[in-house]
Symmetry: C2
Subunit: 290 residues, 2 copies
């Protein structure tokens, strides 16, 4: 499918891409780049690529497809560092969780003869780093692409075929709309999980040990999410700030109303809320998401 | 272990108890009672008991162990209705999620020659009703008992042996302390899950369908919790109100601080929060809860 693919960033997503590319025979060779020598050495031990460099500019030389899987806050700097080394006709894509910021940060550095097709594979686990990857991470998961009106159709098609070959289902979306949808489905749950677990870290230590002991009653599910990569999520907060603050504000309103109903002992109202949420669960199951 | 066990309430917990009692041969016979004739008929179809009645007073006649697995709001009325039919020396226990309220609601109705040993099996699924039960629900789960200082030691021991035979590990706790710990580990996560899913029900319908479509990114985990029994959770809010409001207020403070850090773009602070939550996850895994 491609001659050379450059993976810039070799964490959970980058390493999973390496496995998926190998599984599908999607590239003749893979070059891997990451800033840390230690991580790069580990990637080499795991044989995730054919060429390795801590210099992203060197890694993209001769690459037909460049995939940026670095934290959102590093996207701009990486794009700037590689802009002089991109092959004419190359396609740059990314795996960032927010799309408007990626477009704003990357596109100024993309030469005219290179195509930018921003993307977001909606897949992940709570693990991170090059050891965390596996070939089936993207199977049957959505990958959202957010090309712009003027993006080369052929480049969009190539990226679509690539992600399809990695196992994903493709959805084309407006970047701002993507950021709003993901703020609700992903960023809000993640931040709430961090917040619940953080509330528990504030407890006196004997109470904290009991919370851990009895975590199976619900709390445990949140600790899994709250183990996710801190830098990635820091950057989501900073880079998708407006959409995130907007849903946090809606959530806070709803929580305030719930607290008031509890304080007032409004049994009927509580039962009504707890009943209508069941319908959403049914819809999720019907949508084959579970 | 017991001659006759009476199961008052035959939802997820009651029906699971029936299966666990049969599995362990823990009673010569089981009598089942629930208010609704339809549910009782279903329990009979499922052969969950040996005797069936919509009249709880009739069901407890001759029973050595009576287990109340009804919503918290129904505990007092059930206790009142059975008080004249309890056999001298019988043991009454329950499976309610809050303990101070159960003791306050039930104990006034317990005759002097009957023993009350309040309990809470920390086990469940998002399903409810007599079809939802299964024998292994309590295996390797905690069951908290909250007897009072004057409770008969022999009765506590019998209830301990019973739950141990159902597969549970036993913890003895002060009722108010139980209510505080569970408010954090169970009630808070549950209410937050309801609230997140409810926030999604407020969205315009096209956005809602996208939230469902992309629910795999985190939101889905919350919909499972939010499918739990509305009446049970309404009663938890009403009956463990003080402890629940207290943790909701701590959580809201933490959420407000998180929102402020996002609004202010405080990357270091965000990363610090998201990092310290990882330690809790490790502790949970170390405690063999996952």
């Amino acid at each position: 499918m491609f001659g050379r693919i450059a993976l810039i960033g070799i964490g959970l997503i980058g390493s999973s891409l390496s496995h998926a590319i190998r599984r599908g025979g999607l590239a003749a060779e893979i070059s891997v780049s990451t800033r840390s020598q230690e991580t790069l050495d580990r990637a080499a031990e795991l044989k995730l690529g054919d060429h390795y460099s801590t210099n992203a500019a060197k890694a993209v030389e001769g690459a037909d497809l460049i995939i940026l899987s670095v934290p959102l806050g590093a996207m701009g700097a990486v794009a700037q560092s590689i802009k002089g080394s991109l092959k004419p006709g190359a396609i740059v894509t990314d795996a960032g969780s927010s799309k408007a910021s990626v477009i704003a940060d990357i596109s100024p550095h993309i030469p005219e003869d290179v195509h930018l097709v921003p993307g977001h594979p909606i897949a992940g686990t709570e693990y991170s780093g090059p050891d965390a990857g596996f070939a089936t991470l993207f199977d049957n998961r959505w990958c959202v692409l957010t090309p712009q009106a003027y993006t080369d159709k052929n480049a969009i098609e190539k990226v679509t075929k690539f992600w399809t070959a990695c196992g994903s289902n493709i959805e084309i979306m407006d970047p701002l709309h993507h950021d709003k949808v993901l703020a609700i489905t992903s960023h809000l749950p993640q931040l709430i999980a961090y917040c619940i677990v953080d509330t528990a870290t504030d407890l006196e230590s004997h109470l904290q040990s009991e919370v851990i002991k009895f975590s199976a009653s619900g709390f445990r599910d949140f600790t899994r999410l709250a183990a996710s990569d801190p830098v990635m999520w820091r950057d989501v907060c900073l880079k998708n700030r407006d959409a995130v603050l907007d849903v946090l504000s809606q959530f806070t309103e709803d929580l305030t109303a719930l607290r008031r109903s509890i304080r007032r002992g409004e049994g009927e109202e509580l039962q009504k809320i707890f009943t209508r949420t069941r319908a959403i669960r049914r819809d999720v199951i019907d949508a084959n998401q579970d």
